[in-house]
């Protein structure tokens, strides 16, 4: 029988991490994601699976611990919320530059600065466009339910190791804090050190006589080599774009308008569709599940069918730029959003759609 539990999004992440056989979690408290570390500490994962859980002295230290754990071939992760994720950007660019697999959870809250502890989606640019210095990309997953918080942990690590690239789960304070029914998966056994060596022949697992030493670094002072490395990274990102686009559609078949929204906003848009359709407005939803890679191709197809797009974001309008690029500005694309930790109501989304297009 399937095991079902009522959990917060933040707790689902932690339970999924233990069950997925994650080797290490390194974190630092910040609202609204502190339950991730609290749950892990309460669960004693060192007894359940041997997983290492450590409360670091700062977000900066925590992300650098992730760099090292990933560099040693282990499945490691961290979590934080917006101001903490800003602090982690140094480590994240080093991780991308050293091509290390790991998972980073951002339970987004409103900004800028210390902002608010209420949910927002205003870290889209930071997550999707790199965030730190240099030309790099994270693979970004956007859960819209507690179940997806759970499921995306294992998916993150699959993608991270497949591409040797950091993966970010871009959630928000609503998904992190709300409780929903979650189907729990089987407990996976953590890899042995021998299995780690086999999976990650590049990792610093200790130099034996059979191989050259392994070095984890993002440094190459030779510009010609550094350019070649950058070309290699960009090639990898193209491959990710070709293979890993994920999205969900609702009632797009006959849609004259569509919402494009992810995470909490997408959940709100589901209700907005009901309200709008009851009024006779044929509207659907495209929900990007991967924010990088972005569902450009599908959006371009839909642009031939619909009269206009309304992006709904809990921000001043960030994803809208990618939507405009995807449809090559061939149809009107407008934004509706609330900021500062305000979650829009389904009704005001419908009102915005009517005001914009009808």
């Amino acid at each position: 029988m399937k095991e079902l539990r009522l959990m917060k999004g933040n707790e689902a992440i932690s339970e999924a991490a233990i069950r997925a056989g994650v080797d290490g979690y390194f974190g630092y408290p910040i609202t609204p994601q502190s339950e991730v570390l609290e749950y892990l500490m309460a669960e004693k994962p060192e007894e359940r699976t041997g997983m290492v859980v450590l409360q670091a002295e700062s977000e900066v230290a925590a992300i650098n611990m992730v760099y090292a754990g990933a560099g040693a071939g282990k499945m490691v992760m961290t979590s934080s919320s917006s101001p903490g994720i800003s602090l982690k950007q140094e480590g994240i660019t080093y991780i991308a530059g050293a091509e290390l697999p790991c998972m980073i959870l951002n339970v987004v809250r409103g900004g800028p600065g210390l902002g608010t502890i209420q949910p927002a989606q205003s870290d889209y640019f930071q997550a999707v466009k790199g965030g730190g210095h240099g030309d790099y990309k994270l693979i970004v997953l956007a859960p819209a339910s507690v179940q997806e918080m759970y499921d995306f942990v294992e998916l993150s690590f699959d993608l991270a190791f497949k591409y040797r690239n950091p993966v970010m789960i871009l959630s928000d304070g609503a998904i992190g804090q709300m409780m929903e029914k979650v189907e729990i998966g089987e407990q996976k056994v953590r890899l042995t050190d021998a299995q780690v060596k086999e999976r990650c022949p590049w990792a610093t697992t200790g130099k034996d006589a059979n191989r050259e030493r392994n070095i984890i670094t993002s440094l190459d002072l030779d510009s010609n080599k550094q350019e070649l490395f950058n070309v290699k990274l960009q090639t990898k990102y193209k491959e990710v774009e070709a293979n890993e686009v994920r999205y969900e559609e609702m009632q797009t078949e006959d849609a004259e308008y569509i919402f494009v929204a992810y995470g909490t906003s997408a959940r709100i848009c589901q209700k907005s569709i009901e309200i709008a359709r009851a009024k006779g407005i044929k509207v659907g939803l495209l929900r990007p599940i991967t924010l990088f890679p972005f569902p450009n191709k599908r959006l371009l197809e839909l642009s031939k069918q619909v009269k206009g797009i309304l992006t709904v974001e809990m921000s001043a309008g960030q994803m809208i730029e990618d939507v405009k690029l995807a449809v090559e500005c061939s149809i009107p694309v407008q934004h509706f959003g609330r900021m500062g930790g305000i979650i829009p109501s389904p009704g005001e989304v419908v009102e915005a759609l009517e005001k914009t297009y009808l």
């Binding site: 230290a61 611990m65 090292a68 480590g91 200790g206 070095i215």
Partner: protein
Amino acid sequence: MAENIINNDIVKEENLVYKKTALLTDKALSYCPGCGHGTAHRIVMEVVEELEAQESTIGVAPVGCSVLAYEFMDIDMQQAAHGRAPALATAIKRLYPEKFVFTYQGDGDLAAIGTAETIHACNRGENITIIFVNNGIYGMTGGQMAPTTLPGMKSSTSPYGRDVESMGNPLKMTELVAQLPGTYYVTRQAVHTPAAVRKAKKAIKKAFENQKLKKGLSFVEIVSNCNSGWKMTPNKSNEWMVENMFPFYPLGDIKVPEE
């Protein structure tokens, strides 16, 4: 003619007085001639060789002059962001508790930008070894003032000498971490004379062996010279170090485990 004599009569096994450890690569060191880093690298790798620990040692290189330490040390290594080496070493050791894990850091890296990571790794009592090379200056970036620069000492960012009123006093990190319950062995050494090198190597060996005891962090400071940054000849810089650095940073054990 003279060359033949050297080749045939002097280079013999029985005349061999020194041999580079196999755990240093053949890559030419990137350090300025006269700098202590080369010797410090050598004795760390000699210790790893003597412990037969090439396979079971993972090192962490810093940012600074020794950023390329991984080019010279023939072991698996990770290069850390500036100051973060103790955070890296923490994670590696926690995930591989049976490996020897060490960081090799300079004073800008360890005592300025990495102060938090250093203090907290020490305070948690991580079972790692920190090698801290203190030459009182930022060498790599061209001789700027470091947290360890002596009062009155000139650098490119304290061109009239370090004014403690406005620039603060030098930070004695080694005495500071010795106060923390998580440190097990804390010592200050040097590598400017053969006798000092022998003592420093012994300290490093002890610091590595301590990891097996799982009783906390071992911290070895090596007070060294920076003849380029100090704008002196190598010999003069070593004399200056003895006369000026050692009184402020006295050599010897600061915290020794009770037997």
